[in-house]
Assembly symmetry: C2
Homo-oligomer: 244 residues x 2
DNA sequence: GCTCATTTCAAACGAACGTTTGAATATTTC
DNA sequence: GAAATATTCAAACGTTCGTTTGAAATGAGC
């Protein structure tokens, strides 16, 4: 009986700093290897044998420490996703407090979403870049257990940011704003996924190692402009989808 | 020896209209079933036994008609993707001809991208909606054979539209424009994928069957505003990613 | 109506999958 | 240091996977 089944969902009690780099415990080694391999091959195509071999642990260790492959995947996600979303909300609250009772600008709200993601990507100690790509991929995964898990993980944060945007853009109808927030999250996750097929044909010069920070610095104004754009009226419809 | 191995890559020679609905040939039944099941479960999680059972054909039919599971997946994509991209380019050329030597508006270029996708989604005869979701998922799939296939399928269309945007937005640097086009394609595919986890928590009222047309009518102005937005200068950087 | 190529079919192939088991080893507790 | 608990390990479990096989059924050409 693994004792970890009880404390599995608690925040990581171990402190990874005061340990030599080579003697990390089995759970962490599995999480690190799984994070990279899930990112590289996806959930279904990554076998437990591949993970445990890369982690240098026994095959049965995954089922012992995490229960199942699905629970391992969720553990990989929560380890970084939950702290990131917590920091997003904390940052948004700090901005709101600093602004008094005035609504925030779109730029400020977006930066509250992006900065924690950026910090994660910058963090070379953790394999942050791998994780963001894995996360972007998970958004599009059809598996129900992934979808439900992400929904529960994001529910609180999305609600907070929707309220902030609603105050920043009071002239935009609530339903329209929901869609625009949806577009923002989509563009962000798609961009962070990073290895999409379309990127390959965009003929970016090889060697231009645009890091995530530079990309997000391009994406943020792009999205802010979209959020602020005037609401499309029915009379404008012909501009877009005129027949032939 | 299957003769189809030779003509496999040629455009579908059979005409699907002059055939009774129940007696479609084996290849089409496999393609239809595969399209829906790949969409629902993803590539890896969809077994050939599931596909052939749903299609009402023998298990070995897939390997006989398509060669392998991977080639079946590619066939599912090309069947609709190639005509759609051809129509996109044809539409763009028609717009450009109609505008004489004047550059097109962003709205016009975007509609040349969206309308063919919309027509596909509208087409109830073909399972167009399923296909667009499958396509959105394929963009984020890590499998190399999928990525390379999509790259080759999209290369020509992307180049055409990049040139059109470059003429429409001459003040935007070439590299910035590449990224913005990348954001546009990302938002489009992400939106069309449709079943992402974030959508579930956006608290859209159940029963509001927003069809793809309405969604794209919201997305298009959003993206056009982003495309036109002023280029972020270095002096604006503090607006976005100021520390804490 | 015979011939020959094409397509369908049931059955089986070897390999890889996630998971379980029970003994061996390491760690903690008193 | 003995007892109890926690972890590791090799081995095997039953299942499912994509693919192959060779014979049976079907259709076309002359």
């Amino acid at each position: 009986m693994p004792s970890s089944l009880i404390q599995k969902l608690s925040r990581t009690p171990e402190s990874p700093a005061d340990r030599p780099a080579e003697t990390v415990d089995t759970k962490s080694r599995i999480l690190d290897a799984a994070e990279e391999l899930f990112m590289e091959h996806g959930f279904e195509a990554t076998s437990l044998r591949l993970i445990t071999t890369a982690a240098g642990v026994n095959l049965a260790a995954v089922n012992y420490h995490f229960g199942s492959k699905e629970e391992l995947f969720q553990a990989v996600l929560t380890r970084r996703l939950d702290p990131m979303n917590q920091e997003r909300m904390r940052l948004l609250s700090a901005y709101e407090t600093g602004a008094g009772n005035h609504p925030l600008t779109c730029e400020k709200i977006i930066s509250a979403m992006f900065i924690p993601a950026l910090k994660l990507a910058r963090d070379h100690r953790t394999g942050g870049k791998n994780f963001l790509r894995l996360l972007g991929r998970a958004y599009a995964d059809p598996a129900p257990f992934i979808r439900e898990f992400l929904s529960s993980q994001y529910a609180e944060m999305i609600a907070r940011f929707r309220a902030a945007f609603a105050r920043a853009l009071p002239h935009i109808p609530r339903e329209e704003l929901s869609w625009r927030l949806h577009f923002v999250m989509g563009a962000l996750s798609y961009t962070l996924a990073g290895t999409d097929a379309l990127k390959m044909i965009a003929q970016f010069q090889p060697g231009d190692t645009e890091n995530d920070e530079k990309v997000l610095r391009r994406l943020a104004p792009f999205l802010a402009a979209g959020l602020r754009s005037p609401v499309d009226t029915a009379s404008d419809a012909h501009l877009w989808f005129a027949d032939t």
